[in-house]
Symmetry: C2
């Protein structure tokens, strides 16, 4: 069971090398328009575009996808309403709106022969992005999307087995066998493509941990474990970034390490 | 500039009336498989499916899309890692992963002749959903997606003008003219379809505010203003739901109203 729409999704992979060719205005607008038509809670996003220079991986386009309640506040003001919803709820809806919109852009781009890659670091450098684009309060840079015509090709990468993802009626107890099967599928998928070897990248170990891996046994599950096992232990930096953008999540900023 | 992929996105609209016809296992698996192939930070989601009964709007399928770090913890355990990343960061990445996956499901479903509608209330009833599906800690129900074969048809609904959404190099000052144009486009789009009239729904006014609208002037901007102007003023309920699911965002739970 297949069609061009599903094929476009199944073929999609991140692109980390781009041609030196600028997509036309029409291509860009078609992609953004497809993004806009995504379902929404409240259309609470904006898209910042930069094409003044080459971006990471040589991409001609860099989109910065923002959660945007500034526009909503302006609209509510015109209707004599003020925003009362708490900022964490606003974020949860806003992140969904922005992510669904961005995913439509990704698939639309793929269908037009373009490739893309998500860059997840924006929330942690929100202040720099805000300064660069002169963002008003209540606009929070969520994720960046580099895009252009691919100068590399690779097969799509594997995902977890479906029985590790889709659960009917009840969340099952995940057996050792299921966990190990899911891990093997991901690791063999990435290592079979020499994914980390080609990118020449292993996440460095911190706290005196000694490296024992080589590109022959460093797979996706080790990679992802090193992220969540080492990165962003403190919530403080993120809370500070959110506060600077006008999203107040908690009063205990100072207590956190 | 168009193709079947982009057409599928541009034609998509929420469906609130479904045929009494169960999609085949093959259709369901194709949709979920397309969802899984979405880009990810860490594949930190799970999909709960219920097809034991008819769901809201008569939909035969109800998917509950969860942010899921339980699986990640199990995998990290097998690799001798423990999770150290703060829970707010986990949520921000997890919501994106889950939303991108769900959006692929929506577009794949559309391409196979199915319709869908998002239900955004899951985070506020997370405890009930957790009990129903026996969710382990670190699994948070983010959003639900009802799906089936449509028993209604409507044109897609308008979105903001592109110049209210896509900003190049700098976030512009939004003039009254731009704001009013965006509002008019949305309001005329919804009212032109008798959207709220057909659904026979206006958001009730609280705090003694007197209703002055009819379906002739109640448009999208009034509707959305009533949400953010009245709903979820306190973050407390949401924080409690997150805590119950094992996501600790803040220690100032008791201070919030």
């Amino acid at each position: 069971m297949n069609n061009p729409v599903i094929e476009s999704m199944l073929q999609r992979k991140s692109i980390r090398k781009y041609e030196d060719r600028m997509p036309s205005d029409e291509v860009i607008e078609t992609i953004v328009r497809a993004g806009q038509q995504a379902p929404f809670a409240a259309q609470v996003y904006s898209i910042l575009l930069s094409r003044k220079k080459k971006h990471v991986f040589g991409a001609p386009l860099l989109f910065t996808i923002c959660v945007d309640y500034h526009k909503m506040k302006l609209i509510m003001g015109k209707r004599d309403w003020s925003m009362v919803t708490n900022d964490l709820s606003l974020l949860i809806f806003g992140i969904q709106d922005a992510a669904m919109m961005a995913e439509n852009m990704v698939i639309a781009a793929e269908s037009l022969g373009l490739g893309s890659v998500y860059l997840g670091n924006a929330p942690y450098v929100a202040d720099k992005i805000a300064a660069e684009y002169n963002l008003p309060l209540k606009v929070f840079p969520l994720v960046q999307l580099a895009m252009g015509y691919p100068a590399e090709d690779a097969p799509p990468r594997l995902r977890y087995p479906m029985d590790f993802t889709l659960f009917e009626d009840e969340y099952p107890e995940l057996t050792d066998e299921m966990i190990e099967e899911a891990m093997a599928m991901m690791d063999q998928g990435y290592m079979g493509q020499d994914y980390y070897k080609k990118n020449n990248y292993m996440i460095p170990l911190k706290n005196g941990r000694k490296e024992t891996f080589t590109f022959d046994d460093y797979g996706w599950t080790e990679h992802i474990s090193r992220k969540w096992g080492q990165w962003f232990p403190s919530v403080r930096d993120l809370l500070v970034q959110l506060e600077k953008r006008g999203f107040h999540i908690t009063s205990d900023l100072d207590e956190k390490e």
